[in-house]
Symmetry: C2
Subunit: 248 residues, 2 copies
């Protein structure tokens, strides 16, 4: 089957949400921007392994024609260090994009939901105000996990809350969210999994949870029974969906 | 530019999130399932106008080869009426899908986030247990609105809450959400817009909001200034994102 994509892709930098991991969960719009690009920017992984974004986008890239540039985006907790890191990344992007060229910056999931685009965008706007910036949204990891597990995220008048579990040190606050909202999505769950399971046990919600890691990738693991899961050494980018409402 | 999509699409029913409105915001996986389908099911619109899902998917359909079946899914508030409506829809789906055939059910946004798939799924599982069911996730309307407005949805340790505004009659509860969460996404905002703006004025957040309707469609409207907006007769499927945190 062949799909002909049409429409011009403008010069500048397009930030693309690749989706959760399955290369085919990219949008057509994102694919078209990737294939039109001369330069492909990806965040360099923390441990020196292949960039996850690069791995997901690999089927759509042409190494003979496109230049791949990895941006060193150290995770800095110290707010004072954030701007210099991103200013350097913005300078790298600007230096690689000549006038009229098209670049893409590839991110997992959706760029504006915990994506690093915000900082880069701000520095680029200051450093290279002539550069056109665009964002193409993507499928989130929790939408893909819900689809894989056939778990509704929200129905009718229900409310959904999304938060990064790695920052949730306050067990009491987590318990309160779990009782107030029909669905709670805990991202970056890996390191926090023992605490999450403790909060689920205390609220009687352990059987209402779904755990997911590497959604749509060969290593995918979806678990409905968190009791049988080794809670330690799970990947950072894993997630837990807790749902008090109806299931399929 | 041509993209060759590969991989077999299995028989059964595949529920596909089309994304918010731009036909190119469908995923490759969704497109592949649509193009492999003999039968295309869509919800019939309430007012007899062309189904919105059908309009979005139109560029990807082949009327000469594919049969389009509209499902009459009256919105029923009375819980007792919900099951018969969906049982009939499930019977229609089962009657149109012979053994070995591939059908797709097309929905806006993501199927499991306020999508009607849950009810259909339950009735199909009872009525036609042999039928294979699959869900392909989609880009949500609020991710696309955030991308169009360059508005971060969440950063670092922030928390995001999503709810349908049409059900939010309790102004005090809405005000509490607006002060407790960094980002609040109010879906189905159209009819509730006067109440939403009142709550935003009372919490001093009116300048922190983004209003969006028909995202990615020719009628798209994105407004950062809700003061200048006619609050009445906006479409039902519009949304407001309120963000107290950093902006781009």
């Amino acid at each position: 089957m062949e799909t002909t994509l049409s429409g011009a892709v403008e010069p500048g930098l397009t930030v693309i949400g690749l989706g959760p991991g399955d290369p085919e969960l990219i949008t057509l719009k994102g694919l078209r921007a990737i294939q039109a690009a001369e330069v492909v920017f990806v965040p360099r992984s923390r441990d020196g392994a292949q960039s996850m974004a690069l791995r997901i986008a690999a089927p759509w890239l042409d190494p003979a024609r496109q230049r791949v540039v990895e941006l060193a985006l150290l995770m800095v907790r110290d707010a004072a260090q954030v701007r210099p890191v991103w200013r350097e990344a913005a300078a790298t992007v600007a230096a690689h994009l000549d006038a009229g060229q098209r670049g893409v910056y590839l991110l997992l999931g959706d760029p504006l939901l915990y994506g690093t685009v915000t900082y880069l965008w701000r520095e680029l706007a200051a450093l290279a105000p002539h550069l056109q910036l665009r964002i193409i949204p993507g499928v989130t990891s929790f939408a893909a996990a819900a689809a894989a597990g056939a778990l509704p995220l929200a129905l009718a008048d229900e409310r959904l809350v999304v938060l990064p579990a790695s920052h949730e040190d306050d067990l009491e606050r987590l318990r309160r969210l779990l009782t107030e909202f029909e669905t709670v999505v805990l991202l970056k769950a890996g390191p926090a999994l023992p605490r999450i399971v403790a909060a689920l046990e205390q609220t009687g919600l352990l059987d209402q949870a779904l755990y997911a890691e590497y959604v749509g990738m060969p290593e995918e693991l979806i678990a409905r029974d968190l009791r049988g899961l080794d809670l330690h050494n799970r990947p950072y980018l894993s997630l837990v969906i807790v749902r008090r409402g109806d299931r399929l």
